[in-house]
Symmetry: D4
Subunit: 203 residues, 8 copies
C-alpha cells in the first residue's frame, strides 16, 4: 500500500484456516482485500464466502466494492489458454479502479488476426501481453505499438515450451524495444507494474 | 524510430567493415546514430572515429549531437562492477535527450547505504536498477519507492551467480510490486523502456 | 549420535512397515526418536501412534520426552509459507533441548517489518533463516546481525522460483558475510548445524 | 553420397595435417570436396590452397568445380549476424548444384520489412530461415508461406539468448505449421535437408 | 488453412465448454475438424460425441468425413511406447487425405529388426520417425534412406531420458543428413510438415 | 566491519585504477585492507605494490600488518588443485588474526589418507573443507568430526564436474550432519563464517 | 538374447492389454520372461497372474522357473530407500541364474558401518552399488575394493538431490578407479552389465 | 595401486613446479609414472623431459618402461575427433601392460562401415567406445557384441552436442544391454575399468 498498490493474498500456498483468519481481520478492520490463485473448490471453506466477489477463470476473489472506471490499460492474450492469466491481471486492475479490456486469440502463427487489431491496440497507454509456447507475440506486438508493453509468459505448452521458461526467455531475449517482463504466470505483478506506469500519466 | 526510440547499432556481432558502412550511410543521410557494445580497441578501425563521441565505461559511441536535458529517470548501480551497464543505459538516455544520474554502491549487504539514499531515489519518476550476484537490491528497492523500477541483471559474479542468471531470476521471482525486468546486461533496453514510460508523463 | 546430534528417521521415503519396525526397536531399547516428514494421514498406521508427540505444521513426531530449555538459537521465517520448514527446525532443536522462537512474516518487500525486529534478532547467538521466492531476506539479514546465519531455502513460489533453486542460489551467491547454506527445505539439517555451533559457545 | 548428398569435411575439429591428407586423397581420386567451418587463417597451411574456392563469410572451401543452376530453395537471414550461417547453407547448396538467394535483415521487431517481402518469399519451393535471439522470425515466416520451412537457430545474442538455445526452442515450440528444425548453427544440415525435399519435386 | 494444412483444436489446454462451442460452430458452418490430445474420458462431455470419429491411442477425434487415399508418407515407431505419437501423426495425415502405414518396434538395440525393413522403408517419399530414450533410431534411419526424415522425439523413458529432451537433442545433434526435427511429442506438427513436403511431389 | 569481519576488495571485477584509488584512500585513512582475487600480473600496476604482503597461490594481498595468532580453525583441501581456494581462506583468517593450518591431499578415493588424519582433524573447533570433482570428502569428513564443517566447492574437474556445480550440490545434498555450504570457490566467505562461529567460543 | 542376456518387458510404459499379449505369446512359445517396473496393483489385470513369481519391492515378475545358483556378484544399497532398485537388480540376476546378496544401510555419513563390511565386500568379483542423495558411497566403495563397481544412482532425495541427477553425476565425476555407471534407477541394466563381466570369469 | 591400477598424475590442474616435483620423487624412488592431460607445450618445462615417453595425440607421458603385451581389450572411436580420448585410453592400457588396438571412423550415419567390422569387434573381450555428437554408436555397438562395452562420451560437437552432455546421456539412456559409462572425456577411467574387468578373465 505504501508503494501505491495493495498487497494481495496469494492463496495457493496458504491453508483454509489462514485465509479465513486474514478475511476475518480485514472485515473487522473494514479493509478491502484481493485474493489470488484461489481455486473454485476452496471457496466453500472460507467464512461468508457468498459475500466475496469470486471470478473462476482468473481464480480471484474480492472482499469489498469493485468499481473499475479508469481506462488506459489494455490486455492481449495470444490464445484461449492464456485467458486465466489475462483475467488475473484484469481483476487486479479492476480492484485498483481500472477497467481493462482483454483482447484474445491473436497468436502470430496467423499474423493477420493481430494486424487487424493494430489500431485498437494503439489506443491503450500501457499494454499487458500474455503468451505461452514460443512467445513470438511479445516481439511482434512491441514492434507495432509505442506504448510500454509488459510481457507475462504463460506456463502452458509441451516439450520445449512446457512450464513457460521458453516464453519467458523469448520475452527477455527479444530485440523489440519497450518490452519489460514479469515472472511466468504473474498476471497480478503485471497489473501492479502497469498501475505504477499509469500514475506517471496521472491515471 | 516508428515506436518512439531509435534503433541502435549493436557492434559486438558486426565486423569493422559493416559498422563503417553503417556510419557512412548515416553521415550521408545526415542521421544521428547510437553505437553500443563497441570495445575501445575497435574505435581506430572506424571511419572518422575522432568525430564520434565515445565513452569507454559503457562502450557506446554517438554520431551527431548530444544534448541531454530532460529529467525524471534515475539509475541505481549496486556496485562498481555494475557501472558499465548503468552507463550504457545513461548514454542511451542521453542520446534521446534525458539526463539521468547514476547512483552507485548501494548493495543491500550494507543496507544503511541504501536507506540513506531513499529520499533522493523517491524524487525520480522511473528507476533503472543494475545489480549482479544475488540481485537482492531489486526487491528492496522496489519496496521502498512507488515509481516503476526496471531491473537490469548484471552478468558478473562467480559460481552460482556467474553469467547473471541468478540476478535475472531474483528480479523475476521478487514479490516486490512495480518491478519489471529486461535481459541480462541490457542497459540499452532498460533505457528504451524507461523512455516509453516517461512519454506517459509527457516527458 | 557420535557427532553430537541424533540421526532422525526421514519418513517420506519409508513404508509404514519400515517406520513401525524402527519405532518398535527404539521402544524396546528405550531410545528416544525424532521422525521427520511424516504426513498427518500416515500417523494412524503406526504402532501406538497416540503415544507419539506429533506436530502437523512441521510434520515431525517425537518418541520419548521433550524438554526444550536451552536458548541462543532464533528462527526467522520470511512468510507464512515458510512456517513448515521453520517448524521442522524448531522441533529438531526442541528434541535436542533447545527452545528456539520462530519470528515470521519479515519478507524484505516490506523492509520496515524486518527493521523493527533488528534488536530482537541481535539477541540470538545463531540464526536460522527460511525464505523462498527470490530469497532476498538472506542477504539483508546477514548484513544486519553479527551472529552466524544458516539459510534454508524454501521450495515454494512459481515460475522462476518454483522448487527453491532460486532461493538456494540467492543464499549461496549473496555477498553478505557470515551466511552459510543447507539444502532446499532442510530444516532438520539447519538445526543440526546450529547445534554444532552452539556447542562452541558451551550451549 | 549413398543418400543423395555428399559428406562434407567438418574442419573445426580436425588438424591441418588431417585436412591436408583428405584433400590429397580426393585429388588423387579425382573427387570434388566440400570443406566446412574452415577459418580463414587455416587456409595457408593446406596443400595447394590457392586452388580451392574459398569463401570467408560462410567459412567454406570447395575443391573442384561449382556450377549452381537449379532453383527452388530460398534462404532468409533475420539479421547481419545470421549471414555466416546463411552463407554456409548457400555454399552447401551451390556445391550440390543449387543457386539459392539469401534475403537478409527481415527481423520481426520491424515487421513491415518482412511483410514487404512476402510475395518474393512465396516464390520459393523450400525455405531455410536463420535467426538468433528470440527466434520469432520462424513462427511468423512459417505462418506466411505454404512451403516447408527449415529453421536454423543462430548462436548469437547475450544473456538468455546466448548460445542459441532460446532460438532453437522457439523454433521447436512454435505453433506455426510446416516448420522443422536443425541444430544450432547447422547451415550445412539445413541445406542437405532442403535438397532431399527438392528431390521430391524432381529438383 | 491458408498455408495448406488445417489448424487443429489442441484439447488438452481447453475446457469442455470451449471445445463444445468450437464443435457447435464447426457444425453450423459445415466445416470438418480435427481434435488432438483429447483424453478418452472427456469424450462424454462433448455435444454429440457419438458422431465424432474417435481414436483412443492417438487421442484424436475427427468431425466429418475421413477418406485417406494418398500415399508416399511412412511412419516409423521405435517401440510400443511410441505408438501414441505415431498414431497422432497418422490420424492427422488421414484427416488431410493421406493413408500412412505405421511400422513399429524397430529400435536400434536390436539392429537386425530395422535392417530387415530397409527395403520397405525406402519405398516412402517422406518418413516420420518417432523414438524416445536415447533416440539412436533417428541417426541410423536417416543414414539408410534418401527421403527426408522428420524426427519426433518421444517423452518417455526415465532418468536422463525422462521428458524427451535427450531424444530431441539426439535428433538435432545427429550427423546424419536429411533429418529435421519437431517438438517433443508433436506428431501433429510432423504430419503437417510431411504434407508440405509431399506438395512438392504434387502429392 | 559492523558485523564482525572486514569487507574485502574483490579485485577480479575492478580496474587497476579503481583498486589503486581504494588503496590510496585506505593509506590516507590509516586502514588495513584485504585484497582478494588479485592475479600476480596485476600487482605491478598498483601504487606502492612492494609494500603489500602478496601471496600468489591464494591470490591475496594485505595492506598493513598481519599477526595471526588465534587457533581453533582448520582447513582441509582434498587435493592439490584445491590449494588456491584453501589459501584464500587461510589468508582471510590470517587477516582477522587466526592462524589456520591447511591439511592437503585427503581425497576419499584413497580413504586411508583421510582416516590417518582423523585425530588431528578432531582437534579443531571449526573446519573448512575444500573439494572439487564429486565432493565426496564433505560427507565423509562431517561424519567423522563433531565440529561445524563449512564446505567450499571447488570449480575444477571436467565433464560433469566442470565449474563446481557437482561438488556444490554434493555438499548440499549430503546427509551428514553439521555441514553448511558457501558458494563455489568462496574461500573468503567460508573464512568469514568460520570467524562468526569462533566468536561463539569467545575466539 | 543374442548378446547374452534376455530382453525384459518394461511394464511402466505399456498397457495391461499389451503386457497380457506378451505373456500369452511367451506361454504359447514356452519362453521364460522377466517383467520389470510392474506395480503391485496392475498384477490382477494380467492373464493367469497367480502363476507369475511376483516380488513387490523390486516390482518384478517372472514367468517360468527361477533357479539362482551362480555366485560372484554382490549388491550394495546405501540405505532403505535404495532397496527397490537393488532388488530389481537382484531379481534380474536371479532370472539369469545368479544368486546375489544385497547388503544394505552402509551410507558414508556413518563410515564405520561400511568399513566393518569391507572384507565381506572384497569377496565378490563384481559389485553393484545403489545410492541416492549425494552418492558419496560410489567413490568410497570403489576405493576400497579391486573388483569392477557398477554404480546405479537412485532417484530419491529432495532439493538438489531430487530425481537422482546429483547421484548420477557424483558417480561419473568420481576420481575412484574401476567405477562405471548406468542410468538413474536402472537396476536391470546394472545386472545385465554385471553378467557380461562375469562371463569373462567364466561365470 | 592398492586396487589394481596405478594412480595417474592429471597434469591439467597442476603447475609445472608441482609436476616436476612429482617426477623427481618418482625417479628417486624408482617408480614408474603415467602423466595425463599434459599439453605438448608444457613438456619443455619439466625436468629431464627427453627421458619421458611422450605421445601428443592422447597427451600422455610415461616415466619408465612400456611393454604392452596382453590382449583382450579393443577401442572403438566413432570419428577422427574422438582419437585423442581413444589414445589416452590406449596409453593408459599400455602403461598397465595391455596392447589395445584402436578402430576409428565407424560412426553410425554410415552404418555399413560399422557392420563391416563386426567380426573384428567380436574378437575382443572388453570394448571401450568413444563417441561425441549424438552418441548413437554406443547403442548400436552394444547391441552387436556380447562383451561388456564401456562408453566414453566425447566433448566435441556444437549446439546441442557441445561439451559432451548429449553423448553422455545417450550412453546412459540407451536401452542396449551391457553398456556402462564413464565421465565425458575420461579415457583414463575407461581403461582402468576395463583392466578391472580383464582381471576377471585372469587377464
Ligand atoms: N558444417 C557442418 N555442420 C554439420 N555437419 C557437418 C558440417 N560439415 C560436415 N558435416 C558432417 O559431419 C560429419 C562428421 O564429419 P567428419 O568429422 O569430417 O567425418 C560428416 O557426416 C559430415 O558430412
Ligand atoms: N497435437 C498438437 N500438437 C501441436 N500443435 C497442435 C496440436 N493440435 C493443434 N495444434 C495447433 O496448436 C495451435 C493452438 O491451438 P488452439 O489452442 O486450438 O488454437 C494451433 O495452431 C493448432 O493448429
Ligand atoms: N574473494 C571473495 N569472494 C567473495 N566475496 C568477496 C571476496 N572478496 C571480497 N568479497 C566481498 O564481495 C563484496 C563485493 O566487493 P566489492 O566489489 O569490492 O565491494 C564485498 O562484500 C566483499 O567483502
Ligand atoms: N586423464 C585423467 N582422467 C581422469 N582421472 C585421472 C586422469 N589422470 C589422472 N586421473 C586421476 O585423477 C585423480 C586426481 O589426480 P591428481 O590430482 O593427480 O592426484 C587421481 O586419482 C588420478 O588417478
Ligand atoms: Mg501462446
Ligand atoms: Mg551486484
Ligand atoms: Mg519467501
Ligand atoms: Mg536474429
Ligand atoms: Mg524409443
Ligand atoms: Mg577434489
Ligand atoms: Mg542414498
Ligand atoms: Mg562422434
Amino acid at each position: 500500500a505504501r508503494t501505491g498498490t495493495a498487497e494481495a493474498v496469494l492463496c495457493a500456498t496458504k491453508t483454509d484456516a489462514q485465509i479465513g483468519a486474514i478475511l476475518d481481520t480485514a472485515r473487522t478492520e473494514g479493509r478491502r482485500l484481493l485474493l489470488t490463485r484461489l481455486a473454485p473448490d476452496r471457496l466453500a471453506a472460507l467464512p461468508r464466502a457468498d459475500a466475496l466477489d469470486y471470478e473462476p477463470v482468473g481464480q480471484t476473489a474480492v472482499l469489498g466494492a469493485l468499481a473499475p472506471a479508469a481506462t488506459g490499460i489494455g490486455i492481449v492474450a495470444a490464445g484461449t489458454s492464456d485467458l486465466g492469466i489475462a483475467t488475473e491481471a484484469a481483476r487486479t486492475l479492476a480492484f485498483h479502479g481500472y477497467d481493462a479490456p482483454v483482447l484474445a486469440d491473436v497468436g502470430v502463427a496467423g499474423l493477420w488476426r493481430l494486424l487487424e487489431q493494430v489500431e485498437a491496440l494503439r489506443r491503450h497507454r500501457v499494454l499487458i501481453a500474455v503468451a505461452g509456447m514460443e512467445g513470438a507475440l511479445f516481439s511482434v506486438l512491441a514492434g507495432l505499438v509505442s506504448a510500454p508493453v509488459i510481457a507475462v509468459p504463460a506456463p502452458h505448452g509441451y516439450g520445449v515450451s512446457a512450464e513457460g521458461r521458453l516464453a519467458l526467455d523469448a520475452a527477455l531475449g527479444s530485440c523489440a524495444q519497450g518490452l519489460t517482463v514479469v515472472n511466468i504466470g504473474n498476471g497480478f505483478g503485471a497489473a501492479c507494474a502497469a498501475i505504477r506506469m499509469m500514475k506517471l500519466a496521472g491515471g
